[in-house]
Structure formats: C-alpha cells, structure tokens
Symmetry: C2
Subunit: 340 residues, 2 copies
C-alpha cells in the first residue's frame, strides 16, 4: 500500500472558540504499513460533531486536547483493506476513532464495532446507530427518566441527537416539544420527527411560545444549547423537573465562562435537577441501545436525516457550519463511495 | 383567656429583598377563644429562618406568600394551655407553624409533633431536631448520597443547617470542608463541628483556599448560599459530583434574577448533578430522621449551637440579622421561660 496516498486533515493551530477551516490543513502522506496485530481501515464516511470544538480546545475536557499537528480526532466508518489480526477480515465494515483521513492503521482495541446489520446504510453507524443515537438514548432514558404523559422539551430538536431524543420520548408516551432555528427546521420537527409542537427560537418571544406549547410546564428539558434558549426553558420547569445537559451549542466560547441568569432558585423552588452526562460512561451498555434503536429504525418508529458533504476537502470548514446551523441532519463527509 | 393579651408580629409591607424590622409591626389582640377540636398553644420559642425571606416575597415560591397584615408565618414550640381535642392534653409540648405570636389557637392537623424526648431541651425541636436537622439529614443523605472517603464542602458551614450537614457527613466517613464568614465561625467549624478544614470566605482568594482544602476536588457541595461562594466551589467539582441546592443566602434579591457564571459546562465535563429539594417533601420520613438525629445528639456525635434572642420585640429585625451573619447557631426568640 506504500504507493497509495493517505490524505490527512491535521490541526494547524488552536482556535479560540469555534474551529474554522483555517485551523486545519490537508497533507498527503504514504498509507501506513501494518505492524503485527494491526488492521488497515479505508475510511468511507468521516463524522463531524459539535463536540469537536471541545476536542481541539486547550480548556479542561473529558478527553485530551488533539495535539497541534496531529490528525483531527474523528469517528469514522470504513472497510478493512488489510488485516494482521485474526479476528478482523478484509472486507468487513468497522467503526472507530479513525480520524479525518483516508486510511488508518489501528490496533484491534481501537475498533468500536463491526457492522453486522448490513440491511441498514453504513452511514447510520455514525449517526442514529452511532454516538448520536446512543447519546439520545442514554441521556433521555437514564438521566432524564421520562414517564408517560410528561412534557419533554428538546433544543436543537431537528439535529442528529435532538431528533432522536424527540422520537424516543414519543415512543415512551411523552408529549414532545422541539425548539429549532428557522421555519425549515420547525417543519422537519413536525413532519419528519413528529414532535407534538415545534418552536422557531429565531421568530422571537420564546417565553410566550414555550408557555403556549407547554401549558402544564416542562418535565424534562434535553439541553443541547445552553444560552438564551435554556434560560427561557428553565423558567417553565415543573416540580421535579429534570434538565439533561448534553451540549452547549449556543455558547461560542467558555474562556472566560459566559454569564447568564442564575439557576439555583429555579432548581430549589421546583425541586428540579440539572445533570450532565458523557456518553462514553455508558459504553458497556451500547449493544442494548443499538438493538433498540435499529429495531425502531427498521419499523419506521424512528426516522433520521443525514447531511452528507462530498470529499475530504470539506472537512476543515465543516464544524463551523454545524455551529451556524447550516446542516439538516447528521453531518458526515463521504470520502469514497459507500461500498468501495 | 379573653382577658390575656396576645402579642402578634404582623407583616406590614412587602420587602424587596431581605425583610427588615420596618416591614413588621407588633399589635396586641385578645387571646383567641377555642372552637371545638382546637388547641390553644402558648408559644415559648419562635423560630427565625432564612426561608422567611421567601415567605414574605410576592415571587413564586413553594408556599403562598404571607398576606399583608397577617401574623408572620413561623415555626414555634409551645405548651398546650387549653384543649378541646381528645388527643392533646394541657401541659404537653408541641411544635407547629404557630406564627410569631404569644398564643395560637390551632386545629390538630396544624400540630407537627408532640415532644416526647423530654431529656433534650425543647428548643432543639426548632433546630437540630426540627427542620434544620431534617433538612441537613435528607438533603445530604438523599440528594447528596455521600459515600465514605468523599469530600463534602458545606457553605454557611457553622449555621444551623450547615453545621449539621458537616457532622452527618463526618459520621458517614466523609472528609468535610466548611466555608464560613469570619475567623470566629471558622473556629467554631473546626473546634465545635469538627470539620477537617474550614475556610473564611471573607479572607480573600477563595479559589486557592478551596484547592488547598480539597486536593482531590469536591464530591458533594451542600449549597446554602449560591453566589460567589458557589461559583468558586463549582470550579473544583470532581467527576460525578453532586451539588445539593438548599438555600441561596448570599442572593439579596431574585427580582430580577441575578446573573452569574454559567454552570452547564461544569456539569457536562464533570458529569455532575445540581439538584434542589424541599424538606416538606420528606415529611412521611421525619420520624426516621429524628430518631437518628436525637441519638447522635445524646451520644455527643452531633453538636449544635443556638442563638437565642430574648423577647418578641426582637422578632421584626431578626431575619435581616441572619443575612448579615450576626448569629452563631440556630436563631430563636424566647418569649417566655422554657417550662412556663
């Protein structure tokens, strides 16, 4: 494989806030040789996540910062091209943290899973059947603990995680209210993801819209944004409400920590709970969740959208686009045809 | 009893923020006559609580606001002087929401409990063996869920609730760190309530003091203050930390909601939880807690301090004094001798 080229997207400089195209560079290097026990994966889809902002930040985080000059950390799905490990065979599809590059030479422990449900598109392994679906599943069910009849409000409701949260809540018998930016996403919430109500936070007077959509108040708020949207939702909490802190998409920078209305009084008067979680903590239970999620997808109870960019050249600018809200659905980069 | 005088402390006007003496007036009315089924209680100790600020506020709360012109809502302990109810006898000591007044004519359901543990001072029924002790017990054990070896930080650590939290945490095998205002309270934390470390937040550089006192970070923060103290503690949370929101003593007014550093990132990165609670929700389990608390008091595992003001004339200004931090221990007003 030495004669083939491996294109890599590397972190060139550390952004303050949201990573833009200029913070990365694309370099070409030879495809790596394998050591004993290693597997060579030809990436097909690269994932783009809001969490990448944290991964390239110097601030404290749940993972080490991506070093300057290193290949950008990313989930990917690809096909095995060479194997020097007895449990992995050429032609198998696998997912893992393979990075923003054409080829990855990895140890067996770096492979998250083999894709065995080949009736579903392999791209789903990075979205609805990947960390997005898992995040929605465990965040809502384990941290939020929904009960039938409760009102569940979701921010970035049409997004990769949010749309899945709304649909799981619906499956569990909750009333679902989505908050999204712009009429197109609101339509997607109602028509595709079957929220009971959807609110365009850009249309103004979020307080009144929320009060109208949640006449009995909010039992669960699945928070993907923080910021002004969350400030509005917190005012509508019911007694014993749960706020699931999943992401902070609306906050451009946490250095310094931005200020907002204090939450203590809401939590006290409403005997409410705010809780952050990290999906990696649920790794031992992924297969249980994937089984449920894939069954919901097959039976049509769960729908998903993908936003697929073509070509690795799209990678450097793709994170900033997420934060501008330009994608409809899970953002992926396809770098070769699906069955190549 | 009609010829005797009942002095009442009534709410004269609604404060913005902390209630001061000028917001109350003392009036003299006849001692009430009893209806069938009622009990006449001669109050001995009146309680003074930080929560009273909320009770007189027009803002949303867990109880209705005290109406203008009404007797100030307050816990009290007193002795039965007359009874037209078969289950209550003259001479028994009882607690309840009897208000800031000499005499209360109450129905049986308004009596919280009869004091049967007569080996302990009856004043304890309003503090360590009243809502303060119960708040510490359920807030720490049920909401905080301490495990042996964990680090528990308490704000208003020398106060009626805080001192009890610190001691229960110690009994449960935790490392305890108290935050209090001024050297006298810090000494009380160390000498009387046996905290492992105590910090004077008025001495400056709370961040460094906390880092030194909690080298492994904070597992549980029992928050009685909100504000700058909490902002500092939140920066030191460990993974899976629990923040128990019990009170907001440092916030002078919640109208409008004051601003502070956003908490979402801390909660997310540390997979931490902030949760408010209301002690009244635990009413069915009070006797379990009182049994444990009184046993700890008897065996010397649990110490308490009281700050007793003499005479009902002290009541109007007593809440503001709490917020100025002038009391050492549970603040009470004694309006007649204990065994009268």
């Amino acid at each position: 494989m030495q004669d083939r080229i491996n294109r890599q997207v590397r972190l060139k400089c550390r952004p303050m806030g949201i990573p833009e195209a200029e913070h990365f560079e694309i370099v070409e290097v030879p495809v790596p040789n394998l050591d004993n026990g290693q597997i060579l994966v030809r990436n097909i889809y690269l994932s783009v996540e809001p969490a990448m902002r944290g991964w390239v930040s110097a601030a404290a985080n749940y993972l080490e910062a991506v070093p300057l000059g290193a290949v950008m950390r990313a989930f990917a799905v690809g096909r095995i091209k060479e194997s020097r490990h007895p449990e992995f065979r050429v032609g198998e599809f696998v997912t893992g943290m393979f990075g923003w590059q054409d080829y990855a030479a990895v140890d067996a422990k770096e492979i998250q899973r083999k894709i065995t449900d080949t009736d579903l598109p392999i791209s789903t392994s990075l979205g609805i059947l990947g960390l997005n679906g898992l995040t929605a599943y465990f965040g809502l069910l384990e941290v939020g603990q929904p009960k039938g009849g409760e009102t569940v409000v979701v921010s970035t409701a049409a997004g990769a995680v949010g749309s899945c949260v709304g649909q799981i809540a619906k499956i569990k018998g909750c009333r679902t209210v989505g908050i999204a930016g712009g009429p197109q996403k609101v339509r997607l919430c109602l028509d595709e993801f079957r929220y009971d109500a959807a609110i365009d936070y850009k249309a103004g007077d979020l307080d009144s819209a929320l009060a109208a959509a949640c006449p009995d108040g909010v039992d669960i708020y699945f928070d993907n944004t923080a910021g002004a949207i969350s400030d509005a939702v917190l005012k509508q909490l019911r007694v014993s409400a749960r706020v699931v802190i999943c992401g902070t998409a609306s906050i451009a920078s946490w250095e310094p920590i931005p200020r907002g209305p204090r939450v203590e009084r809401h939590l006290l008067v409403k005997r409410a709970r705010m809780q952050g979680f990290l999906i990696l903590d649920y790794a031992p239970r992924y297969s249980e969740a994937l089984q449920a999620l894939s069954q919901w997808v097959r039976t049509g109870l769960m729908r998903y959208r993908e936003d697929i960019l073509e070509g690795i050249e799209q990678a450097p600018g793709s994170i900033a686009g997420l934060y501008r809200g330009e994608n409809l659905g899970k953002r992926l980069i396809r770098i070769v045809p699906e069955r190549s």
